[in-house]
């Protein structure tokens, strides 16, 4: 069967010593930075993106993917031990995970999270291997109008399913699209929004924007808040292995979380965060003893943790097969591919099968590594939690600065990153999530290109988007989403869902 052949090819690539090494380094660095407080996964990836540029594309991507799920996993460690979610997708893990830790069951909570994540990782790796090829075939049949409509759907769905004001998020997308236009117009050769600065004629690098908005912006935001009081669970973690009772209660939750997360991850705007929130709600509702939730229910850790890992992995499917990023992390991955000279889209699978399958195989290996790295080394990660932020931010600041400089080899990029950092802080301050901006930025040039091509096909008639059946269907889905969000009843439900 093709599936096994493909996976064999993938494991052949992923199991070479060099790639194993990069997967391990990625997972280690990702966990390290994920554990450190105040640095989210987007900032982590943005900051480390430049490091991978000097590698061969496949190794670079394997390392980036390792960083991604390492950071994901590190985030849950801090959630359980310090009640500080390292990132939004582990917010719900805090609720019961930290309570378990306070009752002296920190080891069990960590182990359940790790084992649940590993199981979810295995399942979702298989799912990617099964569903990516057929989806890519669908993608290959798309013309310019279909692609344009698909991107519109991707962008709108991403903000509807994310939290926060939809209107502001769409405005942030448009802003990102605008920033993406900076540089030379590929069709006419004229420069746009370059202010006469030579360095800007090649456009703004995705790493510069991401490091500025997320890395630097996060530093400023963190420093402007009063230092948080951390309630680190100080007692020693003695017992790592969960009890038989924990196992009995956790495994159905792991199964439920994995299936829910795998489905939600594929949706644009889905991915880890939505999955974990939905899984927590599902566990709480379906539990026979809902009263235990919030007081250290093991299901409240197992469900969301499996779900966020499953969702994080299956969100690679639309990115790899259609070239559409569902969330900011995937947008950065697309940026990384582009810098390596690879155009994301359905052709990746046929043109670079070794890279595609190698990356998928490395996801499974990376998950296994995380399990091995995390459980025995948990004591070391706990020590790291005690590093005060005022020491940390200087190192982060420096890494951001060097990173930006090395990616573009220009001092102008560093100045731009400073500017984006200030912008990132200002937008966060007025309650505008900066993440949609990255989505717009990455898709901007592609959208303009497809729009132009569609117009050329139809001799300038915009009705082409409504005449092609697939494009029409996609745009109707956009319309349906917009109507859904605008309906007052659903609006309040949506706010409620994210409040929980």
């Amino acid at each position: 069967m093709d599936l096994f052949q493909n996976l064999a090819l993938g494991f052949g690539v992923a199991l070479t010593p060099a790639n194993l090494f990069f997967a391990l380094v990625g997972a280690l660095i990702g966990t390290l930075i994920g554990v450190l407080p105040g640095i989210g996964p987007i900032a982590t990836i943005a900051m480390l993106l430049p490091l991978t540029f000097h590698l061969e594309p496949t190794s670079g991507l394997i390392m980036l993917a390792g960083i991604f799920y390492g950071a994901q996993y590190g985030g849950s460690t801090t959630a359980i031990l310090v009640n500080l979610p390292g990132e939004t997708s582990s917010v719900v893990t805090c609720i019961d995970g930290h309570q378990m830790a306070r009752q002296g069951r920190a080891g069990a909570a960590l182990a359940v999270a790790a084992l649940g994540s590993f199981f979810a990782g295995c399942v979702s790796t298989l799912l990617i291997a099964m569903f990516a090829p057929p989806l890519a075939i669908v993608g290959q049949s798309f013309g310019a109008p279909e692609y344009f409509s698909l991107m519109v759907l991707g962008l709108i769905a991403a903000v509807v399913l994310a939290h926060g004001s939809v209107l502001k998020a769409i405005a942030m997308i448009v802003l990102g699209l605008l920033v993406g236009l900076v540089g030379t117009d590929g069709n006419t050769g004229a420069t746009r929004f370059t202010f006469g600065i030579v360095e800007l004629t090649d456009g703004i690098d995705v790493a510069t924007l991401a490091i500025g908005i997320f890395g630097i912006g996060e530093i400023i935001t963190n420093l402007s808040q009063p230092p948080e009081t951390r309630s680190l669970v100080s007692q020693k973690i003695t017992r790592l292995w969960p009890t038989r009772e924990d196992f009995r209660r956790a495994w159905p939750a792991v199964l439920r979380g994995t299936s829910l997360g795998s489905i939600l991850g594929v949706l644009p705007g889905g991915g880890a965060t939505l999955s974990s929130f939905a899984a927590y709600a599902l566990e709480k509702r379906s539990s026979r003893h809902p009263g235990e939730f919030g007081r250290g229910a093991v299901e409240g850790v197992a469900g969301p943790e499996s779900a966020n890992n499953a969702g994080a992995q299956t969100s690679f499917i639309p990115m790899l097969t259609l070239g559409i990023p569902g969330n900011a992390v995937m947008a950065l991955m697309i940026g990384a591919l582009t810098i390596h000279g690879i155009r994301p889209g359905p052709q990746i699978m046929t043109e670079r099968p070794e890279m595609f399958w190698g990356m998928i195989a490395s996801m499974w290996i990376g998950n296994l590594m995380l399990l091995i790295i995390n459980l025995p080394l948990i004591g070391m990660w706990v020590q790291l939690l005690k590093v005060p932020y005022r020491f940390l931010y200087l190192a982060v600041l420096l890494f951001c600065a060097i990173g930006v400089y090395t990616v573009s080899n220009s001092a102008v990029a560093v100045l731009l990153a400073a500017l984006f950092g200030v912008a990132g802080y200002v937008f966060t301050r007025v309650d505008c999530e900066p993440a949609p901006m990255i989505l717009g930025f990455v898709l901007g040039p592609l959208m303009e290109d497809n729009l132009r091509r569609a117009m050329r096909i139809s001799s300038g008639d915009p009705m082409i988007f409504l005449q092609r059946p697939i494009s029409l269907g996609l745009l109707l889905a956009v319309l349906a989403l917009c109507v859904l969000v605008a309906l007052p009843a659903i609006r309040s439900k949506r706010e409620e869902a994210f409040q929980e």
């Binding site: 209107l167 605008l178 004229a190 746009r192 929004f193 420096l398 090395t406 950092g421 200030v422 802080y425």
Partner: protein, 166 residues
Amino acid sequence: MTPAHDRQIPAARFRQIVMRNDVLAGLLFCAIAVLGLLISRDYPVGTALRMGTGYVPHLLCWMLLALGAAVLLQGLRTTETERPQASDASAWRPLIFVSTSLVLFGLCIERLGLVVSILLLTGVGALAARGLGFLETMAAACVLVALSWAIFILGLGLAIPVWPEW
């Protein structure tokens, strides 16, 4: 709305409204859109069939302007009581020193090399947080110089000048 609100001095009431997040965000989006339109006013727009350089920028700027206006309206119409905002005074310090340290780094890296640039970045950057003493900053700077030299020069072999070029 409580009668207390009506009796407030108009200026204070105005300030309160303007400081709402949605109002600020709306104004910000509108300002960026107008700026974009101004900059791109000379870009040829062309037709839908033969799109000029300015076609998409203009389209996006008008969209942003509309969205900004909608966010602004939403903010003005809101009737819920404003949440007490954390004072903005504490943000100036990191805002200024973090960005300045980056700008300095960018300006110095090519001429003065990695070591001097790192010292400048940590020195100025350290002013952004309270509670970092002089000795602590010095120690941090030394560790960072050693670390980045090991990772970027030794490990990755990047061609960044380490010392000032005479």
